[in-house]
Subunit: 288 residues, 2 copies
């Protein structure tokens, strides 16, 4: 459903950067009209005329299955309809156990990119789901050139507290990492957000950790925490950001209407990197 | 246990601003020594020599009970020992049903102060506890001159979702507010952090709400979300901030070692405003 001004704007920018080609699926007349408004010649692209959102989503997913497309991007349709096409057991493209949201931020005062998961997809992950979320995030880390990502399970404190279940999960994941049960990363938590991100915050508390102060991946304990961190980074700290879904055979760009045009562009760019990683053999090796 | 350099530094600044007088309880020799290091003459203040942390905390609380002090501030002792003295059923100063943490932020790009609760005290509040947290936060709002605070229960989404319990709580609290069961405020949620804080974020989603885009109080669904927002605002957005405990007969300054000297000073300043409100009759009228 590519007949959406803000989506077309991101497509235009990515096309002008010469990093993508696009197949536009949706209402052909509207696509041409909306493209015209932003100075984009839609006829540069293949256009598939399809006014029904469910059929349009199914078509997009099919193009990935057939190898004609490397990335799927959501346009002007309901998220539920879009996801249904991806997750469909017969015609969908779900590849891993879990579809999760992975965001990447360029924060002020930090010289590394920060990966945040999950801010938008998995609501209250249990330990097994946290492992799948980590696996998906490692694909993104690998795509960004991080070979051994440092993962901080985020809690409200940096000590195990029997009354705070996410601190127990954090301790368990850390020990699994120690024992080599999760490869290509170092997990150490519980950590609070400040001592995950900033060296100076770890000094006061004298935390001994290979992850504290230098985390690459923030693992949120629940969707509320993940979403609040996402919104605070993006809106309050004005950090550049991108977000995609991982778990399908292709990266999925599912930005929100409230996301800026830059966020949509960066999400497309991230998807390109990730689609190369997904094509490789890296994924199978992550877990024992 | 006032023999703590960073606490004494905040005391010194507040004293020089002429907004406090202090009674220093702790190891007298160390208090004088630490004060000397930062150019503070400890003999400006009454000093009570007490080396035992539990006794020192009990003494501080007693001074409030007897009307000799308006604010209690934590020094160099364990939080658990400090809180035990406050919550002690015979000699403590607990006044309301719940002791909760209330933080106040001056965020970039916003022309109003933002109150956040609970980032540090109540772990997984149920509905009844959320009401108490709101009551405590309204004391702070009132102290800041906000007569009818706009309260946003923060969730990951702005719609009710049966699989996300905090969205159900948000709906219930909102209706209680509609029916006048909670006075001196307007509660409307669920809201995500961006559409609670920023008008522009509400426009894309066409949210009709008296609170969206202009919330004064952010009610976190759990301590992990509250703490992550706190840390992101304070460390990533570099927002000026202060935090105190409400629920006792006096405001309690319980800053962390990792908090900056400014945060400690602002927390003292906030306590002064709140101690005036606590002396009034406002509190009793909040609930039907």
């Amino acid at each position: 459903m590519a007949h959406d001004g803000s989506v077309l704007e991101a497509i235009k920018a990515a096309y002008e950067y010469n990093i993508i080609d696009a197949i536009l699926i949706g209402d052909k007349d509207k696509i041409i009209e909306e493209s015209g408004k932003i100075g984009l010649n839609a006829l540069n692209f293949e256009i598939i005329d399809e006014k029904n959102p469910a059929f349009a989503a199914k078509k997009a997913v099919e193009l990935v299955s057939l190898g004609y497309a490397d990335i799927v991007m959501k346009g002007f349709l309901e998220t539920a309809i879009f996801l249904k096409a991806i997750l469909n057991k017969e015609t969908g493209i779900k590849k891993f156990d879990l579809l999760s949201h992975v965001a990447v931020f360029e924060l002020p005062d930090l010289d590394r990119l920060i990966i945040l998961t999950d801010a938008a997809m998995v609501m209250a992950p249990d330990l097994k789901e946290k492992l799948e979320i980590i696996k998906n995030a490692l694909i993104v880390a690998n795509s960004l050139g991080i070979e051994c990502a440092k993962i901080a399970p985020i809690c409200a404190v940096e000590v195990v507290n029997f009354n705070m279940p996410c601190t127990l999960d954090a301790a368990i994941l850390s020990k699994m990492s120690d024992r080599g049960q999760i490869k290509n990363c170092i997990i150490d938590g519980p950590l609070a957000l400040d001592n995950a991100l900033y060296k100076e915050a770890t000094l006061h508390k004298k935390i001994k950790s290979e992850v504290a102060g230098c985390a690459d991946i923030l693992l949120a304990p629940n969707i509320e925490t993940g979403n609040a961190i996402y919104k605070s980074f993006a809106f309050t700290s004005r950090a550049k950001n991108s977000g995609i879904l991982i778990g399908a055979s292709a990266p999925v760009v599912l930005t929100s209407r409230s996301d800026s045009y830059e966020t949509k562009l960066y999400s497309i760019a991230l998807s390109i990197l990730v689609s190369k990683t997904l094509g490789g053999l890296y994924v199978q090796d992550t877990f024992n």
